[in-house]
């Protein structure tokens, strides 16, 4: 077992921002805080903040415009895309753990119905 499971801060911020995009709290084309601002908001180091945007850029979620700042990608479907990607991640991890406990797909469906109201 791995006990250095503490997620790196920059990934935590990445996920937080992705969640905001996915849930519509941050919209397509919207300007994101500057690196310095992000660092203050999340009480992280500016270098870490920069890394956050680097990762989001790699994932095609935001882009930086020299001298202007960082923006969520101008793309109608960005929210939908991120939302679905996160959903798939959650679903994959959920199924993986349930199967590790020896549950079949049918049983998983049954349990979800019981919990899901």
């Amino acid at each position: 077992m791995n006990f250095d499971t503490s997620i790196p801060i920059y990934l935590q911020v990445v996920n937080d921002l992705k969640g905001k995009v996915a849930s519509g709290q941050i919209l397509s084309g919207e300007k994101l805080p500057s690196g310095r601002e992000l660092a203050q908001q999340y009480q992280i180091n500016p270098n870490t903040a920069a890394r956050v945007y680097q990762v989001l850029e790699q994932q095609g979620i935001c882009e930086t415009r020299r001298g202007l700042g960082t923006f969520v990608v101008e793309q109608e479907e960005i929210q939908k895309t991120v939302r679905e990607e996160m959903a798939k991640d959650l679903a994959r991890k959920f199924l993986e753990r349930m199967k590790a406990l020896g549950f079949t797909v049918e049983e998983i469906g049954k349990i979800l119905k019981e919990e899901g109201k």
Copy 2:
């Protein structure tokens, strides 16, 4: 936002051991490692290891016999019980996160079907 998302070590170990009980890797009545052994295995402090067994005992999963060690509860159904409890926990958390992303129960079911094979 909360960046202390890292689960406390003692709970990580608790979950790991529960997983082993739930999946039958550790059986009812079986002796668990001594506190000192557990501490070495997981590279944690003996006090933290003790806390692990304290929590497991409080959850009715193991019992400690002074001078002898800590044992999984002598109970036929313990594996089933723990397995189902963990499954419900996973399901609840999964649904909660999916709903936070704005997915309906139907959509969640659909996504699971796509991922689930």
Copy 3:
């Protein structure tokens, strides 16, 4: 024979606080001393004080709010509940010891009448 009859300090404090709840000296919803204060009051280590609240919380008698402190549970009946629980405990232990001395229930009743005024 067992000469470690001394009740652990943390349980002594637990019982003391429960007694205060049971007798109405501490009311539902009331704030309890901070861990550090409790440690000073009872001349114990802050960690031991923390364990006291841990036990009380686990028994459903108090709840802790991070950064705010520990409070008696907001529940009308908490005093009654704790009072009755403590009474049953005392009665059980009393009967157990009397029976170990070979007294019947009738004799116990008679002795109590003689002492009880």
Copy 4:
């Protein structure tokens, strides 16, 4: 509150011996272990053992005969006497604690009936 509640060892041994007399495990006139033996049995210091017999003697429960050892008092009723004395002590303390919780004699009787079977 008093946290030096740990009962002195010599009183613990005194109570243990009294309990044995009260329950008939040790009989009137019976020879008690020598101070050295008692010290070994209970893993206590010989001086502490001596103090045990000193207290029991003061309470009229045993007597020491120079060169012969310590004996339970030659008295038909000694068991009965000790037994009743211990019972009264237990009853007094029980009633005291219950009254501190605000219970009336009637309520105490009721609780005992519920617990006492």
